[in-house]
Structure formats: structure tokens, C-alpha cells
């Protein structure tokens, strides 16, 4: 069994399914834009004040948007039995999980990153800071996808998990939130956020290597 060929097929399947239901894929993006741009209405659009808040708002919005649509990651496959098939196949479930998470990020996280200029400018970021922001948000949202997938896997068999998933995930997401927002702050000041980028890279390596193991373990619980 060629693992890469299987992975390629799985990824393609996820992307095609997402493309067919492109309306669902839009929800996190719309949420991202709305949450971020609603903030100035709630506080004050005053430039100095916004500049202090902008990094935080950007990252909180990215985090919350990443959590939306996570229950749809494993849910449908669990319900129709294809998850069981994936678990029984010779391809390790953790590898399958890794590929699914990457697929989820390509559909949710990557568009989010690409949309960042649309909300960053109104929030007060300068155009020069945009490359740094994108460099931070790419690994950051990918981390959120891995972390969120662990939560999604743990709650996949629960009928009405409601807000349980965010409740489980939010405390674990705080380190990346802290580093990412700090990086955005540095970007706003015109510096290249090397330090935060290293930390985000480290967190992502950790999540991408250990995460799939946890996800596979969690999925197996519901399949027994």
C-alpha cells in the first residue's frame, strides 16, 4: 500500500468535498472578518487605541474562526462508517489524521491567512507589516487546526458537544496566542518578529508530530 498515494487521494477527496460545499467553507471566513471588524464598534476607532488592540483582536479572531467547522472534520466520516474503514486500513490512522488536518487547514486556515490584509488594514496595521503578519498566521492557524482536531477527535461521538470543543481547546491554545499576538505587535512596530516566529515554528513542530498520535488515539476510542 503506497502511503503517499493514499494520502494524496484522501487529501483530494477532502478538498473536493469542501469545494462542493463551498458555502460551509465560507462560514469561518465570514466569522473572522466580522469578529475582527466589530471590535472597533465596541470600543473606539481611535487610531492610537486600535494600534494597541489590533494584534490581539487579529489573533483572537483567527483562533475563534479556526474552531468553527471543526466538528465537521471527523463527524461525517464517523457517522457513515468511513472513519472505521480508515482505522482498519493498513495506512496508520495517525498518518490519515495528519493528512485530514492539513486538508482542513487548506480549506479553513489558509483562506483565513489570505484574508488577513482585508482586516489588518482597517484594524490599523501598516502595509509594511503584512508580510510578517502572514508569516505568523500561517503556522499559527495550522497549529490551531492540529490542536482543534484533537478536540474534534475526542468529541466526535458525542451527540451534542456544543461548546465543549472550544472549552477544551482554548486553554491549550494560549501559548500560540501569546506568541502570535506579540509577533503581530512587533510587526506593527516595524520589526521582523523573529523570536515569536521561532516559537510558533516550535509549537507547530510539536503539534504536527505528536498531535496525529493523540488524534488517532482519540478517534479509536469512539470506534470501539
Amino acid at each position: 500500500m503506497n502511503m503517499n498515494a493514499t494520502a494524496g487521494k484522501l487529501l483530494r477527496r477532502d478538498l473536493v468535498l469542501a469545494w462542493r460545499r463551498w458555502g460551509d467553507a465560507l462560514n469561518p471566513l465570514m466569522f473572522f472578518v466580522m469578529v475582527a471588524l466589530v471590535f472597533p464598534l465596541a470600543v473606539t476607532p481611535e487610531a492610537d487605541f486600535m494600534r494597541k488592540l489590533a494584534p490581539g483582536i487579529l489573533w483572537v479572531a483567527a483562533l475563534l474562526s479556526s474552531l468553527i467547522g471543526l466538528s465537521a472534520l471527523f463527524g461525517p466520516d464517523f457517522e457513515d462508517g468511513s472513519l472505521e474503514q480508515q482505522a482498519l486500513s493498513p495506512v496508520p490512522l495517525s498518518y490519515t489524521a495528519f493528512v485530514r488536518v492539513v486538508g482542513h487547514w487548506l480549506v479553513t486556515g489558509l483562506p483565513l491567512v489570505l484574508l488577513t490584509p482585508v482586516i489588518a488594514i482597517p484594524l490599523g496595521f501598516t502595509a509594511e507589516s503584512l508580510p510578517a503578519l502572514l508569516a505568523l498566521l500561517a503556522p499559527g492557524t495550522l497549529y490551531f487546526s492540529f490542536l482543534g482536531a484533537i478536540g474534534a477527535a475526542l468529541t466526535v461521538s458525542l451527540r451534542s458537544s456544543g461548546l465543549l470543543l472550544p472549552v477544551l481547546i482554548l486553554p491549550l491554545a494560549t501559548p500560540v496566542l501569546i506568541f502570535g499576538a506579540r509577533g503581530a505587535q512587533l510587526a506593527l512596530l516595524g520589526d521582523w518578529p523573529a523570536g515569536p516566529l521561532y516559537m510558533l515554528g516550535f509549537m507547530l513542530m510539536l503539534a504536527a508530530s505528536l498531535g496525529p498520535l493523540a488524534i488517532a488515539g482519540a478517534l479509536r476510542i469512539s470506534l470501539d
Binding site: 484533537i150 475526542l154 468529541t155 461521538s157 458525542l158 458537544s161 465543549l164 472549552v167 477544551l168 482554548l170 486553554p171 491549550l172 494560549t174 501559548p175 501569546i178 506568541f179 506579540r182 516559537m199 509549537m203 510539536l206 505528536l210 493523540a214 488515539g217 482519540a218 476510542i221 469512539s222 470501539d224
Partner: protein, 242 residues
């Protein structure tokens, strides 16, 4: 030595031994609490800067330490339950979770109360309090997940994975919150520990820490015994209990 360990993993054995140890745990807890409180509230001299308000450390410190110790214990128990498929280990993890949450809650409340006379506000975003807050969320998440499953075995294993994911994250959370705190610190440095603490102030703290630990064992044993009976009610050994 391993036979002892294996025996302990058997619910009837644990139930019996726990029952025998309970009076000791309980009495020791009360004695140590009394001794520690007397030492901290009466014997220890007043702090030069904080006067008598520093005495809050005698509940704040032990609560904070035990909140972290308990989480470690919970994660280890969960790991043992997951790896060796030992049901009793999962019961231990479920038993200590609310105790750890209470410790964390007390650490937060006493820390907040301590902050008011010292630094003027009811809440300070210092590294330790913020970490404790996140730890409370981790405890609550664990308890929520464990309780969300109809199938008890699934609940055990899912919450165990969450506990392990949490324990891996805790050092990272601590470090990142520390770092975040140094970035945003105002001119006043908030510290909940006194740097060089004299022995007369220190020993009640150690006694209280031990007292809290024994409290954990006492309450955990009650909770484990109760859940053992509940899970094993159909087993034959429960019929022979006096």
C-alpha cells in the same frame, strides 16, 4: 514489590486498604493543619513590608503547589489507565480532578485577595495567577469531557488523552505566560514569594504543604472508594462488605 502494586490495582484490595488508611490520613491532615495554622498565624513574625497580610501565603502557597501536584497525579494516573488499561487508575484520576480544581480555585481567590491590599487591585495579571487560571480551565475541561460520555469506558479514555495533552502543554503555558508577563509589567513588580524567607516564616509553609497533601489523600480515598462501589456494584466481592 510488584505484587503489592498489582494488588493495589484490584478494586476490592484498594477499597479495603483505603478504608484502613483513612483514619490515619484524616487525623494527620487535621493535626498538620492545626500545627501549620498555629505556626503561620501566631508564631511567624510579621513581614517587614506586608505586615500581617503576608500570612495569606500560608493558604495561597500550598493551594497553588497542590493544584499543580494534583494535575501531575491526575495525568500520571490517566496515563497508567490508558497504557496498562487499569480501570482503577482512571477512577483515581477522576477522583482527584475536583480536588485539584478546588485547590486551583483557592489559589486564585487567595491570590486575588492578597493582591488587593498589596497592589491595589482585585486582580493582577501576574504570571502565576494567570497560569492558575488556565490550569482551572484545564481541570474543568477534563471533568466536562469525562462526564459527557454515556459509555464510561469511552469517557475514561477520552479524558485521559486530554489530561496527557494538557500535561505536555503545562510547561509551555507556564513559560509563555511568564514571558508575556515580563513584556507587560508595569513599574511595580508583583511577586507572591518573598525572596529570602526566614526559617520561622518558612516552616509553617512546609507544614501546611504537607497538610494539604494529606488532605488530598484523604478526600481522594473517600472519592475512589465511593466510585469503586458504584462501578463494581454487580461484583461478588461487594456482597461481603461489613
Amino acid at each position: 514489590m510488584w505484587t503489592w502494586f498489582h494488588k493495589l490495582a484490584s478494586p476490592p484490595h484498594f477499597y479495603r486498604i483505603g478504608g484502613k488508611l483513612l483514619p490515619w490520613f484524616g487525623v494527620l491532615t487535621l493535626l498538620l493543619m492545626a500545627w501549620g495554622l498555629y505556626g503561620g498565624l501566631v508564631l511567624a513574625p510579621m513581614d517587614y513590608q506586608q505586615k500581617d497580610a503576608f500570612r495569606i501565603i500560608y493558604v495561597h502557597g500550598p493551594s497553588a503547589w497542590m493544584s499543580m501536584f494534583t494535575y501531575m497525579m491526575m495525568a500520571v494516573a490517566a496515563g497508567i489507565g490508558l497504557i496498562w488499561r487499569m480501570k482503577l487508575a482512571h477512577v483515581v484520576a477522576h477522583a482527584v480532578a475536583p480536588i485539584g480544581a478546588v485547590f486551583t480555585f483557592c489559589a486564585l481567590v487567595t491570590g486575588s485577595i492578597w493582591g488587593k491590599p498589596m497592589w491595589g487591585t482585585w486582580w493582577v495579571w501576574d504570571a502565576r495567577l494567570t497560569s492558575e487560571l488556565l490550569l482551572l480551565f484545564l481541570y474543568l475541561g477534563y471533568m466536562a469531557l469525562a462526564g459527557a460520555f454515556d459509555d464510561r469506558k469511552q469517557g475514561d479514555r477520552a479524558s485521559a488523552i486530554l489530561a496527557i495533552v494538557g500535561v505536555v502543554n503545562i510547561p509551555i503555558i507556564h513559560y509563555s505566560v511568564e514571558w508575556w508577563n515580563t513584556l507587560h509589567q508595569g513599574p511595580t513588580v508583583t511577586k507572591f514569594d518573598t525572596p529570602s524567607i526566614s526559617w520561622e516564616m518558612l516552616w509553617p509553609l512546609l507544614v501546611m504543604a504537607l497538610a494539604f497533601k494529606l488532605y488530598l489523600f484523604t478526600v481522594a480515598t473517600w472519592r475512589v472508594r465511593a466510585e469503586i462501589l458504584q462501578r463494581e456494584q454487580r461484583s461478588a466481592w461487594t456482597r461481603d462488605l461489613k
